[in-house]
């Protein structure tokens, strides 16, 4: 059997059979899902808590807007002084008391509104009260100025600018969101993959050095074969782990939500809740439709092919550097000084992707970084959903492959010399010397 496939097989099997690898593979999704479930459960508990809020509306104009909901009961008080009301609310252990003083000047009235409670009230509650009051008071003011509310409501127009390219492709705002989500996901996935499995490759190279087996192996196979075998074997183990995570995660998620009846989507932050309130309009249906067309509009074939090519290219580029670092040092603590130059372009790529590509996917900065091989995998993947000409993608890919071949050559040089060097903490100067050996 050919050496490379033997090495790949060994690397793969050792990784996959490793106890901590197995534990991590199984435990990670369980822990993640458990965490989600707990958070979801807790926030649901919170949401389900029934509360009663007393309202003392001295003007008598406002209280009708408060309608009881499943969780909140509004208790409208009347003919009672503020102090009495406070005492009563406190005695009944109600959630709180909203006091609206009577005032002909609506601005003064708005200022006088108070909420009394034992503890600091929840942000969600206050926001929802505020938005209700705002709306009502605005209406009252308009009425005072003699404006017909009916007409205003009728005259409200909802706008969603339909976008169309010169070629007649229809797009919408939702398109951009979907594109961003896809690009962000792809870029982030690559970033995580490089860091997790790059480190794994590095450790396995160091292990061969510390166990002193390297010279035995190297007398049978070429260093570059060993290095490539390691990179490919570890990547396959990584893909296995990722796939198991996704499958296990999906299964667990389904099971957990079935058993506990927790709607994980119901996990909401106050901001989301407010956004939802703002969107309680017929637009929502429209948006769902837009989402579907947006996904449908993505250049799917281009995306999938580009994703695979740039992912592989970028991953191999960085992992060969990780392998070289592993070969250059004796133990993991010595790797620090070499990690920064690897992480810098990677972090830069993510920053450019997140801050620049979103604003201006085809601007100078985005374009330039999508060609530079060390940042192109992340940035180009983020740009492609916005439509990048094939020739640009090809140039970036050729540059990436060219650089990849260079780094493999470079890493193999370091590797070849480094794996047989013991007891020396190498400096960059030393590494430069190794290149000429």
């Amino acid at each position: 059997m050919n050496h490379l496939s033997l090495i790949i097989k060994r690397e793969y099997l050792t990784k996959v059979k490793n106890k901590s690898f197995i534990v991590m593979t199984i435990l990670s999704p369980i822990i993640m899902i458990a965490l989600f479930a707990v958070v979801a459960y807790l926030s649901q508990l919170n949401n389900n808590k029934e509360r009663t809020i007393s309202i003392l509306d001295e003007s008598g104009q406002i209280s009708p807007i408060f309608k009881n909901t499943d969780n909140t009961t509004y208790n409208i008080l009347s003919n009672i002084s503020l102090d009495e009301a406070k005492a009563q609310v406190e005695k009944n252990q109600e959630y709180g008391l909203l006091h609206i003083a009577n005032n002909t000047d609506l601005d003064e009235m708005a200022k006088s509104i108070r909420f009394y409670s034992e503890d600091t009230p929840s942000l969600t509650l206050i926001s929802s009260l505020e938005s209700k009051l705002e709306k009502k008071l605005t209406d009252l003011k308009l009425q005072q100025d003699g404006v017909d509310i009916e007409k205003i409501t009728a005259s409200r127009t909802s706008i969603d600018i339909a976008q169309e390219s010169y070629q007649g492709e229809k797009t919408s705002k939702m398109d951009n969101i979907v594109k961003l989500a896809f690009g962000g996901f792809a870029g982030y996935l690559l970033f995580m993959f490089i860091i997790i499995y790059g480190n794994m490759i590095m450790r396995s190279v160091i292990e061969e050095k510390t166990s002193r087996i390297i010279e035995v192996i190297i007398s049978s196979v070429k260093p570059i074969q060993l290095m490539m075998g390691k990179i490919i074997g570890t990547s396959l183990a990584g893909i296995t782990q990722f796939v198991i995570w996704i499958i296990l995660g999906t299964i667990l998620l389904t099971v957990v939500s079935l058993i506990f009846g927790i709607d994980l989507a119901a996990m909401q932050t106050p901001q989301q809740e407010m956004m939802q309130q703002a969107m309680q309009a017929p637009e929502v249906q429209n948006q769902m439709q837009n989402l579907m067309t947006a996904i449908y509009n993505l250049p799917i074939t281009n995306l999938v092919v580009a994703f695979i090519l740039f992912f592989i290219g970028g991953y191999l580029l960085y992992s060969s550097l990780y392998a070289a670092i592993g070969a250059a040092v004796d133990n993991e603590t010595d790797t620090q000084q070499f990690m920064l130059p690897i992480l810098m372009p990677l972090i830069l790529a993510v920053y450019v992707g997140v801050f620049t590509v979103i604003e201006d996917p085809h601007g100078t900065v985005s374009t330039v970084f999508s060609f530079i091989p060390f940042t192109s995998p992340v940035v180009m993947l983020m740009r492609i959903p916005f439509g990048v000409p094939i020739w640009q993608q090809l140039i970036a890919l050729v540059l990436l492959i060219g650089t990849f071949m260079f780094t493999v050559w470079f890493a193999a040089k370091i590797y070849r010399v480094g794996i047989l060097m013991y007891g020396k903490k190498p400096s960059y100067k030393e590494l430069y010397k190794w290149l000429r050996y």
Partner: protein, 308 residues
């Protein structure tokens, strides 16, 4: 064609450091060839070049008369000085893997491994992890892995380090047997007693240069000074000394003897034979010790290194 391996003027530089300078050695077929030299002399670099781990800057290496090919690794078994095994891998799996890297088929490797494991009585280690074994046990596995593919050239770099005397002897016997079965052995070591015991040819490398090589017997013959160690019993030691001094160069000798006799080193001139000396001595005293001083490998090593 009597040489299995020949290196022709092999040189290697690491940056400004000259690790090997025009080193040529010839390893005869079926010999045990000792590659000697002080630490840092360049032995390991030469061995790595033979194993194609490092490439020489100039010069070439011939195996069986042909320039070394990448494929030739399957004819070479190499036990490096810096050696080890994957700690968390099982013995059997690991041995199979390393054998397959040397080009053996899995079935063949399994069969050969069984033979060796039985021979060294380590059959029940198959499913153990290396980290569960002692250092000496791991060394045995390492030895098996080195010789498993029946290479015609075996290279051992300090093979006995880490072995207890019993196992060292066992391995030594195995090496001798492999040689008798036709293998050629290159043997790099500092331990001169094993050189004396095993090697029939040696090369001495010092400061990147080969300073001595050849058949060990021939080298010893060249290094011997025609000096004999004698023990003589006589009544008047001083008189006897004077008589001998008139004819030969003498110096005081020191060896263990039951008798309280006169101990001398006597150096012959080039035209005299040992019989001449013996005849002369028996005429003057009773000879109860007569031994030619042959330089040991260690003496030769130290002397040659000092002179360079």
């Amino acid at each position: 064609m009597n040489n299995l391996l020949v290196t022709n003027s092999v040189s290697k530089n690491f940056g400004d450091f000259k690790a090997l300078n025009n080193v040529s050695i010839e390893v005869p077929k079926g010999s045990i060839f000792g590659l000697l030299g002080p630490n840092g002399a360049g032995k390991t670099t030469l061995i790595r070049i033979i194993n194609q781990i490092t490439m020489p800057d100039s010069g070439n290496v011939l195996l069986d008369g042909k320039p070394l090919q990448p494929n030739d690794i399957k004819y070479i078994g190499y036990l490096p000085e810096e050696r080890g095994l994957y700690k968390s891998m099982k013995v059997g799996e690991q041995a199979l893997y390393l054998a397959q890297l040397k080009g053996m088929s899995k079935a063949e490797a399994k069969q050969r491994l069984k033979y060796w494991f039985e021979k060294l009585e380590i059959g029940d280690w198959w499913n153990k992890k290396i980290q569960e074994l002692s250092k000496g046990m791991a060394q045995k596995i390492q030895f098996v892995v080195t010789v498993l593919h029946q290479p015609k050239l075996l290279i051992f770099d300090e093979p006995f380090s880490g072995f207890d005397p019993i196992n060292a002897n066992l391995i030594k016997d195995e090496i001798l047997q492999l040689r008798n079965e036709g293998a050629t052995v290159i043997f790099s070591t500092h331990r001169m007693e094993s050189v004396e015991e095993l090697c029939d040819h040696i090369a001495l490398i010092h400061k990147s240069n080969k300073i001595l090589d050849g058949n060990l017997q021939d080298i010893k013959r060249n290094f011997k000074t025609n000096t004999f160690e004698v023990g003589l019993v006589t009544e008047n030691e001083n008189r006897l000394k004077e008589i001998i001094q008139q004819k030969f160069d003498i110096s005081k000798a020191d060896f263990k003897s039951l008798n309280d006799d006169l101990k001398l080193n006597i150096k012959l001139k080039s035209n005299e034979t040992s019989n001449d000396l013996l005849t002369f001595l028996t005429q003057n005293a009773e000879v109860n010790h007569f031994n030619e001083l042959i330089p040991s490998a260690s003496d030769i090593f130290i002397q040659t290194v000092k002179n360079n």
